[in-house]
């Protein structure tokens, strides 16, 4: 290698190292920005000296009083409500979504295209509009206020068929020749689904269960609407939100932090544990829209 090319090579290398260093700094700064709020919320949940909002991060007196106080409120009830909703929704919604997406991906029937177009148009209506009437209907059925949990499950599950896009994208990628080969061997459509497609669909099944499970933990608007005024029927989002309203924030701010931590930990752990499937679902299906 001649001297000049050598120098150029070194220069390139130096500029690449410089570039990489900059990127490292950038990524570390980003990571810090993304994590700071969560550090703060954890630290504040251990603050004992005051229950209102303060301008500093590190507690002066540490303790688990906030966590202990949580159990003298309705928080455990909210937690159980949300957990039941999440588990039931995860199971039922997954069945509905998979039925829908599998059918739309695998079968070619006359109404398929019109049906998909119809659902696309339906999705353009703000869902909030439906809330008023669903509230009245559920109220007639006795599924609001303190009994809001079954009502919530019913509504989440019943309208979940519209969210078939991601898993349909997944089913589209399974070669159709598999189906055809099984058909030739005399399998019925049901057998094809059971014996061939389902064993191949583990990632998308887990993705669907995971997203369906996480949904109810964060749902706020509809849950608030139908549990209106009755603490026994609230989910964590609604209950904790009320603690931050202007008249309650001074008594309950640190308890909100503690409650938030207790809600976030199991969901986050589950999510990290199944992260692989989530990433696959998002990168594979979300883009095809």
């Amino acid at each position: 290698m001649s001297e000049t090319t050598m120098k150029r090579h070194m220069g390139l290398k130096a500029s690449r190292t410089l570039g990489n260093t900059l990127i490292y700094i950038l990524l570390i700064v980003i990571s810090i920005i993304w994590l700071v709020p969560f550090f703060c919320i954890v630290l504040q949940s251990f603050r004992v000296e005051s229950t209102w909002q303060v301008g500093y991060v590190i507690p002066k007196v540490w303790g688990i009083d906030n966590y202990r106080n949580l159990f003298s409120t309705d928080f455990p009830r909210w937690y159980i409500n949300t957990f039941i909703t999440a588990v039931c929704t995860a199971l039922l919604q997954t069945i509905i979504v998979l039925c829908m997406s599998y059918t739309l991906s695998r079968f070619r029937f006359k109404m398929r295209k019109p049906l998909m177009r119809f659902m696309l148009i339906l999705g353009m209506f703000p869902g909030m509009l439906a809330m008023i009437i669903l509230y009245r209907v559920l109220k007639d059925l006795g599924l609001t206020q303190a009994n809001a949990t079954p009502g919530l499950i019913l509504v989440y599950v019943a309208s979940s068929g519209m969210g078939y896009y991601v898993s349909k994208g997944f089913f589209d990628t399974i070669p159709k020749s598999l189906d055809e080969a099984a058909r030739i061997d005399g399998a019925t459509r049901f057998q094809i689904l059971k014996k061939i497609i389902l064993p191949l669909s583990k990632p998308i099944v887990i993705y669907t269960i995971l997203t369906a499970f996480m949904g109810p933990w964060g749902d706020f608007v509809f849950a608030r609407y139908i549990s209106f005024g009755a603490s026994a029927g609230m989910n964590v989002a609604v209950g904790l939100y009320n603690w931050l309203t202007p008249d309650q924030i001074n008594n309950n701010y640190t308890m909100f932090c503690a409650g938030g931590v207790l809600v976030a930990i199991p969901v986050t752990l589950l999510f990290l544990f199944l992260q692989k499937y989530y990433v696959e679902g998002v990168t594979g299906g979300a883009v095809k829209g």
Binding site: L27, W34, G55, S159, F190, V279
Partner: protein
């Protein structure tokens, strides 16, 4: 704007090329809108033609059919029963019996009340036992409207089933004429997991969508033509009635009572901010997310997995926790202002949520914090699919990183994520959670609030709609007008983008 040939286009300078493309885009909009109407018209025309064909077929089947077929016109399933298809026949018959029973017992009543939505409101009646006046509740407008819509659904389903029943007869006659055997009930059952498996699978999801999505939407669209609100709730306070297009007139009129702003002006203001928000929320996330993904994926960067996990973790934490907490961090007495003040960088708390412009910028910035991890995941998946040899050859040709980005990465990303960008734009228009949990619409916009309850500078149409329904007067009719308008705006944007941008239509071309 005149279309240029390829050669003419290539001769333009860079800036001109961009201007030309931009001009073509806007020039395409009227044509796209016209196209929509043309398509709508052809759809209606083909619908009418199809109904005509069906009617003709019904008549000819009756004329040419045997007596079993003819009886089936009155007694559904008779033909099936007479020809030995017991299961099908019974189902048809059962449906007819249920339908007629329902129509006599309640359906007829609901339909007869539909034009008036109830005649007698709540009345005061003297009760002798308690010696006082008690309120007696009579007609219920809400129920009348709801059940008459349901009844109409039911009638449509009946007509469809009746039509199927006739077609069944025609097909059965044809099969018998060729000397073949009809399907037995057992075979019918078997087909539910085989040829008609899709019907079995779709039955449950579609019923759910019909009852819990379609029905409420139709109902709420109808509410826009009534005076349903807190003072006319249809049962306890007062009945509500049809008011025609009055609510739309209110919404679109520029006139208003003295000292208040008109609805049209308020709507315009909120719509402008909604579109602005959707634009910034979508594109800041898109480009910054892509940028972060590229940084993490760059060759020679170690700990990719750690950085990715940190970002992904923030998706897992329920939004109401992170958004509510961050909203309090930025409050006047929050951690951010407190820290900055104790560092001595500022003397006075920064008005993150108190000033209109500050609040608008802050929600967009916090939305970046929420959205980047998700975009980072999507972008990572796509970036990994770009063939490496594209970059290799670009480098050999002497392209610098910026050129590689604008010539390879960006076009590739835009082509693949075109549909995603559109859905994300419309999704952001209706992004209730971020706005409601961060600001609740604050700071209040006094001028706009005078027209329609409390309206803030960061309110989107969707949060405005929510405030209208939960506000003091609960003007449901107004909320439903706003909802319809949101639909119109979203549909228009989607249609225009789909029709004007070829890259979205033909995304497969690029792959």
């Amino acid at each position: 704007m005149a279309q240029l040939s390829d050669l003419e286009f290539l001769r333009l300078s860079k800036g001109r090329k961009f201007l030309y493309k931009l001009g073509r885009f806007f020039a395409g909009i009227p044509k796209a809108i016209a196209n929509v109407f043309i398509k709508l018209w052809t759809l209606i025309k083909s619908g009418i033609l199809a109904i005509g064909r069906e009617a003709k077929d019904i008549v000819t089947t009756f004329i040419n059919g045997d007596w079993k077929t003819k009886v089936s016109y009155l007694i559904m399933g008779f033909g099936c029963l007479a020809r030995g298809q017991i299961l099908r026949g019974l189902l048809f018959l059962l449906f007819e019996v249920v339908f007629i029973g329902y129509m006599i017992l309640s359906g007829g009543y609901w339909l007869s009340m539909m034009p008036s939505l109830g005649k007698v409101g709540p009345t005061e009646e003297y009760n002798e036992i308690y010696d006082l006046y008690v309120t007696k509740y009579n007609d219920n407008s809400f129920q009348i409207l709801l059940y008459s819509v349901l009844t109409i659904f039911f009638i449509i389903a009946f007509i469809y089933t009746w039509r199927v029943n006739i077609r069944q007869n025609k097909i059965a006659e044809k099969i018998l004429a060729t000397g073949k055997k009809l399907k037995s009930s057992k075979e019918d059952l078997h087909s539910m997991v085989d040829e008609s498996f899709h019907k079995t699978l779709l039955a449950l999801p579609l019923t759910g969508i019909l009852i819990f999505t379609v029905l409420p939407i139709i109902f709420m669209v109808l509410v826009a033509f009534t005076n349903y609100d807190g003072a006319h709730d249809g049962y306890i306070s007062n009945l509500f009635h049809w008011v025609g297009l009055d609510n739309f007139n209110t919404m679109f009129s520029w006139k208003s009572a003295s000292g208040t702003q008109s609805y049209a002006a308020t709507f315009g203001e909120i719509l402008a901010w909604t579109l602005m928000w959707a634009f910034f929320a979508t594109f800041t996330n898109y480009f910054l997310g892509m940028f972060v993904a590229m940084a993490i994926n760059k060759k020679g960067i170690k700990g990719k997995k750690v950085f990715r996990t940190i970002l992904v973790m923030t998706i897992a934490i329920p939004q109401f926790i992170s958004l509510l907490y961050v909203s309090k961090m930025f409050a006047k007495d929050g951690i951010l202002n407190g820290t900055l003040m104790s560092l001595g960088w500022i003397d006075k708390a920064l008005p993150f949520w108190e000033d209109a412009t500050w609040a608008r910028v802050t929600v967009i910035i916090i939305n970046i914090w929420i959205g980047i991890p998700y975009l980072m995941l999507i972008a990572t998946g796509i970036l990994m699919n770009i063939p490496a040899d594209l970059y290799e050859s670009a480098r050999i040709d002497g392209a610098n990183p910026w050129q590689q980005y604008t010539r390879i990465t960006l076009p590739y990303m835009l082509f693949i994520t075109g549909p995603y960008l559109l859905t994300s734009f419309t999704g952001n228009m209706n992004n209730f959670n971020v706005i409601f949990l961060l600001t609740g619409g604050a700071p209040t916009n006094p001028a706009a609030s005078s027209a329609a309850g409390s309206v803030g500078y960061t309110d989107l149409l969707i949060t405005w709609l929510f405030k209208i329904t939960t506000g003091a007067d609960s003007k449901y009719y107004l909320a439903s007008v706003v909802g319809i308008l949101v639909f119109v705006v979203v549909a228009l944007i989607s249609l225009i983008v789909y029709n004007v941008l070829p890259s979205i239509k033909n995304e497969e071309d690029f792959q």
